[in-house]
Symmetry: C2
Subunit: 456 residues, 2 copies
Amino acid sequence: MTGLVPGPGPRAADPHPDGRPTADLHAAEPRAADLRLAELHRSLSDPLLSAMTFLNEVTARFPEAISFAPGRPYEKLFDPDSIAENLAAYRDHLHAQGLDRGQVRTALFQYGRTKGQIHDLIARTVANDEGIHVPADAVVVTVGAQEGMLLVLRALFADPDDVLLVASPCYVGITGAARLLGIPFEPVPETDAGLDVGRVAEAVGRVRAAGRRPRALYVVPDFANPSGASMSVAQRERLLALAAAEGLLVVEDNPYGFFTGADVRVPTLKALDRDRSVVHIGSFAKTCFPGARLGYVLADQRVVAADGSTSLLADALAQVKSMTTVNTPSLSQAVIGGLLVRSGCRLREANAEGVAFYRRNMALLLAELGRHFSPGSGVRWNTPAGGFFAVLTVPFAADAAALEVSAREFGVLWTPMESFHLDGGGRDRLRLSCSYVDPEELVEGVRRLAAFIGSR
Amino acid sequence: MTGLVPGPGPRAADPHPDGRPTADLHAAEPRAADLRLAELHRSLSDPLLSAMTFLNEVTARFPEAISFAPGRPYEKLFDPDSIAENLAAYRDHLHAQGLDRGQVRTALFQYGRTKGQIHDLIARTVANDEGIHVPADAVVVTVGAQEGMLLVLRALFADPDDVLLVASPCYVGITGAARLLGIPFEPVPETDAGLDVGRVAEAVGRVRAAGRRPRALYVVPDFANPSGASMSVAQRERLLALAAAEGLLVVEDNPYGFFTGADVRVPTLKALDRDRSVVHIGSFAKTCFPGARLGYVLADQRVVAADGSTSLLADALAQVKSMTTVNTPSLSQAVIGGLLVRSGCRLREANAEGVAFYRRNMALLLAELGRHFSPGSGVRWNTPAGGFFAVLTVPFAADAAALEVSAREFGVLWTPMESFHLDGGGRDRLRLSCSYVDPEELVEGVRRLAAFIGSR
């Protein structure tokens, strides 16, 4: 969830330029042991991945440009001294739970429980912050939300005709994971008001008409990446009714939910879920920090075996996880666990500063756009109710070539929307992220963007 | 690489008993939203996984038993205070590299480079410790060796007829990952002297005769899990010659290589690799600690695209990784990175205490077996040259039922070898791990084991 591209964005943390020359590996003469790209897995030749590589590369080439490209959190919210404080708080918490010194050592150093060791703290936190009530053993602690997506897709999709529905434009982490696993997906075109349940129903019909099964829908209902759109409560209720009627699971991904533009809270799909139709994926990347790579899945669905015995979907996810990462690093769990303990398992309140920052930046972005582009300019944008992203529509192709010019000649970076569209749209749109820049940079960045757009 | 089962073993770190009742989820009446196990991914119904679940469960039920089951490192080698010391050392290292306070904050908190941030430290360490020379950008830092296996399998296996060769008996992490991805595998029966290259050649022939392609061979050449067997230098050289001749990649997994039984060092396959036939997977779980979940892949193979442009296999692995975990947690990299810095990138020397401990315990295990079982007893065992594991052959079925009796009536746990065999063998064998127990426990554990075996 770095934004367009999971992985290194502009200003990527790479303090270690590679120390050894690799020129010999790129030397001209072929060697018998060379591998051919065409013989590696097809996901590696996907045009989407080539686009990603180009975008990472172009942004890395212009480190001095002001960047509206990455979906990264604002760094000045991070305090290096907090790591040791949170670790200490977690150790104290374990001692308070009755663990002796040896048991605390085990918790920090040894292999751990596959589903995680801070599952109860997470269950309490989502209850406090979101009104989501699931048993702690329905929580799977994952290496970021990305691993959660991989586990959910792997567990749920068994048949080659099981189809994943996704909004288009769509976050590339889910479609990329689907491609790794060879899972087919069907785009549901998003409207300006976010995902429309009527269109979901149409997609379900299309999939069924083709003799395939719509297994699950992936959706970011709050301040979606990349569109910034959100679903209304009425649409959420309709979606849950459709899901129950159609036997469709809803995979809800919610990294931006805290960052509302006003003091209005819309319940998550999981909080509204009465039928256990929703598998909820959470992330601490934006509410704590990305370097911990900590996320979770809430999977309280019951799984019934042929002999009638039951287990939780969370246990199936754990079985998959034992073959992906074994368990989530205890250091990351300890630091985030300490932070949860210190916040009284109320992370929303602990995020007050971040919420206020992103709220001001989004308002400032929209105001600056209004200052630079008049109604007759041919430039339009949406007005997200919160989150990190807004989408600008421009009267030209906002493609990779245009981005290159924008970066080199105008010193401003953004993300072409066409990379997120699964159905060929978005060529005249670009995504602006307001999360990573100082307000002063933001103002200057929009000035540069206006100069670039005026030059086309 | 916890031993038999990645994931929770006996005495799993689970300080948080689940706080909420889950009885309602297991209630008798079916609900519309229930999932059927038969409709989840087929890997979840694999008999192997059911066996794993049973074994985890039986060991968890007997926490007071002496356990020869898990391949876990000895815990008293861990020092809780070292976490903060290593973190501080890594921060100092970054500052010494010229990073300012803001850049250090970025390195610790923000999304990072997909291939990792301690790649150069790892490249220096494997050069010092193993004589392996690869450029730092051929290193991919992973969430444990397990993620490395997943990335390598996903990148290399493109066609449904690409077959993975694996030793039998085999570590379940590789076969489990192959099952997640639907990759077929062909067992190569191990001999008492480890993997035999003649048998590998036979397996290559079998696969080709069936019209399929032998894509790669997975092997743990040093003190294999589960057999404890090691390949001789001559076998290693022959394997590399076969690999080059057949266009077969060798995936070398080397978690136990430091833990030699005597001061004799056999070079890794990667150190002997002149044709870039070897993809090397490393783990810090045994040489540092498992909770960091830190591993790496050395993938210096050149990948040639259709247009003639080249890249490294490491870059393809990174593309896959961006869809599994995005990047490896910076906290884990910082703590292990600090440890590498403090050791002068000489981890073998830093492991002197562990090497001595495991060496003593293996010698003690073999001596105690010799004390309890006479040549006429029908009980035999191998004599591994190092590592964590030995295999005992007994005159009865060493199966799950026998394990249950051993645990309940005799207070000693071990692992049935049949779970590791891919071809139906191993029913009269059991694996003993000497890594996790104190010497006194080990002596008492063998006494109990002898009593159990005597009772059959």
